[in-house]
């Protein structure tokens, strides 16, 4: 998937991946896509919950070898 911006949050522990995601998405325009990479397992549920509560669209997520990647479309 083509992202407008890529955020590397690998190696960061909770709550940093979400804090960085929030900041990154604030810099995008509506409809743009942010790709977030994390290694914190908890970020799966938390990013989903955060997207639900903020209204941004979690388009897709994937796991590969301990790296979680999320594609979020700004509302």
């Amino acid at each position: 998937m083509n992202a407008d911006q890529v955020l590397d949050a690998k190696g960061l522990a909770c709550p940093m991946p979400i804090i960085r995601t929030k900041k990154a998405i604030e810099e995008l325009a509506s409809g743009q896509i942010l790709e977030v990479q994390t290694t914190d397992k908890g970020s799966q549920n938390d990013l989903t919950g955060w997207a639900n509560s903020t209204g941004h669209h979690l388009l897709e997520s994937a796991e590969d070898n301990g790296i979680y990647t999320f594609w979020i479309k700004k509302k």
Binding site: M16, K22, G42, N45, D46, T48, G49, W50
Partner: protein
Amino acid sequence: MSEETKQLSLMKMTPHALTQIVAGQEELFILDVRNEAEFSDWKIEGENIEIINIPYFDLLDGVDPALERIPASKRLLVVCAKEGSSQFIGEQIVEAGREHVYYLEGGMKQWSEYLEPIKVGDLKSGGEIYQFVRIGKGCLSYMVLSGGEAVVIDTARMIQPYIDFAAMHGVQIKHVLDTHLHADHISGGRALSEATGASYWLPPKDAEEVTFSYHELVENEDLLIGDGKVNIHPIYTPGHTIGSTTFLVDSEYLLTGDILFVASIGRPDLAGKAEDWVGDLRHSLYGLYSGMPDGLIVLPAHFGKVTELDKRGQVSAKLGDLFTDNPGLNISDETTFRRTVTENLPPQPHAYQEIRQTNMGKIQPDEEERREMEMGPNRCAVHDH
């Protein structure tokens, strides 16, 4: 010190301190900042604990929505999955001027794994018996000590606390026993026996598929410790599993495993044989236990609710009292009993099939996967909801 320089700070609460609060029925207000799914699955409970859930990611723009709901007068504990988010939110609450704000050391992960050893009593033949309370998960295990030797029963996955405790008390762990093949938590029995050189004992009927060697627990073949003075007497009491075995320790303490709890009885369905095992369960409870002395101290492998803990955090009851107070021991009609233990049961424990496979040695999940499998409440009793 002037008002301006007065420094308020976020304080750490250890799992031990939280255990004291839960057992002592002290007041505490908890802000759980995990996501809603995790919170609804499993949370900290206590008689005088008030708890609310606001995910930390809903507080990134400020903690005001939380402050509105937190009474200023109470001690506040902020809790998350590990620790980081509770510190992050807790610090902001302190900055907002609140006092008595704590975060839980190690978060729910450590709470789930914390074991609190509590002395149950002295043995008449010389020695002591301790209950290891895994308060976050409702699991109970035991260590019997006598004459420099010890036996551990229903070991939790985390074996270091038993090793440290034995070293502190100058005893050598000789035997490690499981009352049955557990379905709600991963037994540390085999690992503890390997680490200490102790013998690992299992009920053979629960161990038909295990992939490792073990010693067979046989009814009436007592294990002895403390120069042979203290006996552990196995009694075959099937029903929760086909092999479930009760241990009578020093003719006074009845370790009932998952057959009989303080406020409930075991469920017969976790190995998939509810209908087959109802008769066994009934016979174990109403046939065997009912014939034993009223004064025996029942020590189960679980508790369902924190109200079962006494002021010190211990879970026990006199057998005679349970025949009066425990609803599971007061169902005279067999059909009603059958229905009670097979219908409307609580959900099965998280990952219980994988946990059984792990305990049989059939699968070898890594440490992180084991931890994950054990998340959530134990749900081994009929009446837990």
